[in-house]
Symmetry: C2
Subunit: 233 residues, 2 copies
Amino acid sequence: MTRSSPASMAEIAAAIGVPARAAILTALFGGGTMMAKELAAEAGVAAPTASLHLARLVDAGLLAVDRRGRIARFRLASPAVAQLLEAMLAVATERAPPSWRGDPALRLARTCYDHLAGQLGVALTETLQASGNLVLGADGGEVTASGAAFLAGFGIDSNQVASGRRRFCRACMDWSERRPHLAGGLGAALAERCFARGWLTRRPDGRAVTVTPVGAEGFAATFGVSVAALRAA
Amino acid sequence: MTRSSPASMAEIAAAIGVPARAAILTALFGGGTMMAKELAAEAGVAAPTASLHLARLVDAGLLAVDRRGRIARFRLASPAVAQLLEAMLAVATERAPPSWRGDPALRLARTCYDHLAGQLGVALTETLQASGNLVLGADGGEVTASGAAFLAGFGIDSNQVASGRRRFCRACMDWSERRPHLAGGLGAALAERCFARGWLTRRPDGRAVTVTPVGAEGFAATFGVSVAALRAA
DNA sequence: CGATCGGTTCGCTCGCAACGGAAGCGATCG
DNA sequence: CGATCGCTTCCGTTGCGAGCGAACCGATCG
C-alpha cells in the first residue's frame, strides 16, 4: 500500500514539530553528542519533559543514544537525518522575510552534521574542484591522483576513508549559500583535520564554528581561500 | 539570533506532522495540482477540515494556491519542498522494517515532484551519463555536445531549458534506490516528453506511473533501458 | 433569477500530549 | 556504606488543535 508513506512521514514530522524537540535536534545538528541534561537546558524545558522528548526522538529513529552507566549521550541517528534537517532549513530560509539568511557567523562557517558548511565549506569544496583535486559527481565523487597526494599532505588517507562503510563523498546542498558543499566520509575527514589542526574551534552555543588566526592563514596557504574575503562578501 | 531556526523548523515540521496533512503533501508530491475537494478525499477528512489544513500548509509556505473563480488548485510551493519530502521518505525507509521499500510499482517508476524517480529514473540518468551525453556535477551538471544533439532528437531543446529561470540540472537522491536521479529543469523536461509521447501515463491514485508497451519499446530503443529487466530486479 | 456547487467560517466536542513536581532507581564517588 | 548525581517514571493540570455538522458566501450555470 502506498498509504504507509504518509503515515510514517507524519510520524517523523510530528516528532520534530514541537519547539522543544526542534531545539534538541538543532543543537545536535552540529554533529556532536550531548547529555540529556544539556539538551534539556538547550530546549528550555525541565529534565522530565526532556526525557520524554528524547525517548520520542529515539523512537522515531531520529536520534541514537549511547548509554554508559548513568549517563546517556545522544546524537543524530544517521546522515539521512542531517539531510532532513538541512532540507527543512532550506524551506525555512526560502519562506523567510525578504533577506534574512541567518546569523552572519552561522553563514560564514558552521558544521553540518559532521562536515563543514557555510561560505567556508562551499569555498573549500569549489577550490578542490577547480584545482582538479576533486571531481564531484552526482553519484558520489572521486579524488584524483593529484588530489590524493594533496589530501595526504593535509593528513587525510583517501584510501582509508574510502574503505569505510560510509559513503565516501557526497554533495550536500548548503541552505544558506544555495550551492553544494562536500559531505560524506571525506567531508567529515576534512572537517576533523581542520579541528585537529586548530584551524577551527567549535562554539559551545551552537553549530557556528570560529576560524582561528592560524586557521585563516592555513586556509589561505593550503587552499587559497581567504576567510577575510568571505567575511566581507 | 540562532534561535530563530528551531522555531521555524518546528513550525514547518508541525505543519506536516499530522496524517491528514502528510497525505495531502504526498498526493501533491507527484507534481500535479489538485482541488481542495480532491485533497479532502485523499486525506480522508471532511471538506471543512481539509480547508483548515490547506490554509495552514499554505501559511507554512509548503503549498501554493491558484484561485480561479470558485475553484482553488493547490500545488507544492517550490522544489525545495519536494526535496524536503524526499528527505523525509529517506529517513522513513531507513527506519522501516528490515526490507520493505515501498510498493513495487512505486519503486519501478514514479514522479518526484516533476521529474522521474524510481528504478526507471535512476536507470535513465545513469545511461545518459554512461553514454557521455550528460555530466552530472555537484553544482549542477552539463549536457555535452553529443548530449544536446541526442536530447534534440528526443524533442528537448537544451538551450531553451537552460535559459529558464530554474536550475537547469540537478541530482536528486532517490529514496528507494539510494542512488541519484536527474532533477531540475532538464529532469522535468525529460519527464514531460515521456508523458507527451505516451511512454508513461499517470495513475489517478498516487505518484506511481505506468510504463506503456510503446514506452517499454521506446526506452529500450532510445536509451537502452529494459523496463522488463528493471521489473525483474 | 433561482439552483447548484466549491469553498470557507462558525460553534462545538473530544482527546492527546506538553509540562513541572515529586518520587524512584541505578551508578558513581567520597 | 551513605551521599550525590543523572535519568526516568508517575502523577495531575492545562491547553491546543483535529474533527464534524450546519450555516454562509460567491461564482457558475441552466
